[in-house]
């Protein structure tokens, strides 16, 4: 224990006798502040050039392109099957949906029928992907606003879901398991039980997250009435997904333009009308619950049988045929050297990815490689709305705005 006298010794030294510099005249123009590209709350490498009047945001202009890899050009040099591996790398939080959208577009070009088992497995994986992506959103959004504990819980469940992805294709993040014509291989033993176990666990886990946030006064203070985007603005900026649904528009591609047989599943599209950050949070939590419902229905109807189309111009022949069928060897050789060749044409397929409409536009010139692949990524389109969402608000609300848009910069910059 130190004596009181010691404390006096560590007092700050007396101020120097130099005169203070003259105070700057008050400048009546906004201050420009660069937020990012290296800032934890910009979710990667997003730079926002904000003009501030005190704490108020006058304008916020996103500057993007730091992660541009020219992935659309890369596609043009790969065969269609190799594109399956490339497409998920655009979005590292919802890779299955990228995989799925690309494969659906290629299948539309090929006009190939997909076995029921493959379609149902795709639905299970897509909904697991939606859960995993929403869990990242929840954890990171709370972390951005200073509530760091939630992330530990959401990442616990997300990690279990990524384990399932690893079971399917061997990789946690990018299994590339969905292939044109079906799946890369059949599901491993024990997959259904493992999915069932996670689906049983999810509802109580979601309740747990909600106890931390839904009625939390700090959370409400930071999100209610913040980052509003009206329904008209959302449509004008091309926003989809939960941005529309939190503004009262029940537009969900799984209902509006069904793919993978979504029209035969029983689920609700959660809608709120407040159009603020809190409403979007509630919509996303409800979407996780709906995803559990859909995945459970898909699991209960999962049929046996084929997981890949029998069309030999698309799917490789089974290994045992290679030993005694010359034709199978030729098909195999042609598929792995030139790849399959869809008829000239084009296809645009939109899927309801966790962030909104993910569109894949694929143009074929009749060769084994796509002539053009374009991705309409929801993150890119919706980032335009950032300024409208945060203008006039406090600087701290910009963090809420970015966390709410939940951009994946790999998808924005491509």
């Amino acid at each position: 224990m130190r004596a009181v006298d010691d404390l006096e010794l560590i007092q700050p030294p007396p101020a120097p006798s130099r005169p203070l510099p003259p105070t700057e005249p008050v400048v009546d123009e906004p201050m420009v502040l660069n937020i990012g590209p290296h800032h934890p709350s910009t979710h990667g490498v997003l730079r926002v050039v904000a003009q501030l009047d005190g704490e108020r945001i006058v304008s916020a202009t996103p500057d993007i392109g730091y992660l541009h890899t020219g992935i659309e050009k890369t596609f043009e040099g790969k065969t269609y099957v190799k594109g399956t591996t490339l497409a998920p790398r655009m979005s590292y939080l919802s890779p299955i949906h990228n995989n799925l959208a690309y494969v659906l577009a290629v299948e539309k070009l090929l006009d190939v029928e997909v076995p029921e088992r493959a379609t149902v497995v795709r639905v299970i994986l897509a909904e697991l992907d939606r859960m995993a992506s929403h869990l990242v959103y929840l954890g990171i959004h709370a972390l951005d606003l200073g509530a760091s504990s939630l992330m530990l819980y959401t990442f616990r469940e997300r990690e279990s879901i990524l384990d399932l992805m690893e079971m399917t294709g061997g990789a946690r993040m990018f299994p590339s398991y969905i292939r044109p014509g079906g799946l890369a291989m059949d599901l491993p033993e024990g997959f259904e039980a493992a999915v069932g176990e996670i689906l049983d666990r999810m509802p109580s886990a979601i309740d747990e997250y909600e106890t931390l946030l839904t009625k939390n006064p700090f959370w409400r203070e930071r999100t209610m009435g913040v980052a509003r985007l009206s329904a008209e603005d959302a449509i004008a900026f091309g926003a989809t997904g939960w941005l529309l649904r939190a503004a009262g528009i029940a537009y969900d591609l799984r209902k509006a333009v069904p793919y993978c047989g979504y029209e035969s599943y029983d689920f609700e599209v959660p809608v709120r009308h407040e159009a603020d950050a809190y409403a979007r949070y509630l919509v996303r939590v409800a979407e996780i619950r709906e995803a559990v419902k859909i995945a459970r229905q898909a699991l209960s109807r999962l049929p046996g049988g084929a997981w890949m189309t029998s069309d030999r111009k698309v799917a490789p022949p089974p290994k045992q045929e290679l030993a005694d069928s010359m034709e199978a060897v030729i098909h195999h050789f042609k598929l792995w050297t030139e790849g399959f060749k869809p008829a000239p044409g084009e296809a645009y397929v939109g899927v309801e990815a966790p962030r909104g409409e993910l569109g894949m536009y694929v143009v074929s010139d009749g060769s084994g490689r796509p002539w053009r692949v374009h991705m309409r990524s929801p993150s890119f389109t919706q980032l335009q709305a950032l300024e409208t969402m945060v203008k006039g608000g406090l600087l701290a609300d910009l963090v809420t705005g970015v966390a709410n848009l939940d951009p994946v910069l790999g998808e924005v910059d491509r």
């Binding site: 029928e113 509006a256 084929a306 089974p318 053009r372 890119f380």
Partner: protein, 206 residues
């Protein structure tokens, strides 16, 4: 894991969106409106969204008609394709959605009477003069989509409020998604050849 699965029968539905046909009437209405300036049209035969090939001078009128008279309030995507070797070389591709009134009112259930309608418009552009009018006045979302198309294809959108590069650096030369853009690798300099390699880099010109 067995290999037998692929030998067995098929039962799945083909990936055909049944809603595609709903927009055919809109395409006929557009044909009536534009007359000669709708260069070609394809109803998609229920497989794809109906597609119209529009003269570039009529693109704003076509989009305005779709938005104001036929309810296509949502612009999904704007992009372009480079058909190098054929003339006209470029095509700008627009995808539109008409969100049904029920969904706008908060009801997600799909109804057969008022389904979601999808439509595609394309505008051919010649190689020597790839310019088309902007749609930003009608659809603010076109802003970034058109900037991206300009950035990667060099297609100019006349009347765009802020037409500059968006993904690539401002001093980038060329338009990489054009088919005649070289796909070259960045040469790595070593100490024995660094003078030679650095001389060929863009910064050597300064």
């Amino acid at each position: 894991m067995s290999e037998h699965g692929i030998l067995e029968g098929l039962s799945g539905p083909p990936p055909t969106p049944a809603v595609s046909r709903a927009a055919t009437a809109d395409l006929s209405a557009l044909a009536e409106r534009l007359g000669e300036r709708l260069l070609a049209s394809d109803d998609g035969a229920g497989r794809r969204e109906p597609t119209g090939l529009v003269d570039r001078a009529a693109i704003v009128e076509a989009a305005r008609f779709l938005k104001e008279a036929r309810g296509y309030q949502f612009l999904r995507s704007v992009t372009a394709v480079d058909y190098l070797g054929s003339e006209p070389r470029f095509q700008v591709v627009y995808h539109f959605t008409a969100i049904p009134a029920a969904a706008l009112a908060g009801d997600a259930r799909a109804s057969a009477a008022d389904p979601t309608r999808l439509l595609c418009l394309k505008a051919p552009l010649p190689a020597e003069d790839p310019v088309i009018d902007t749609l930003t006045g009608l659809y603010p979302t076109a802003n970034w989509h058109e900037r991206e198309t300009y950035d990667l294809f060099g297609i100019e959108f006349a009347g765009h409020p802020d037409l500059r590069r968006i993904l690539l650096p401002n001093d980038y030369e060329g338009f990489p998604l054009r088919k005649d853009h070289p796909q070259k690798y960045e040469e790595i300099a070593f100490s024995f050849n660094q003078d030679e390699v650095y001389a060929s880099k863009p910064f050597a010109k300064e």
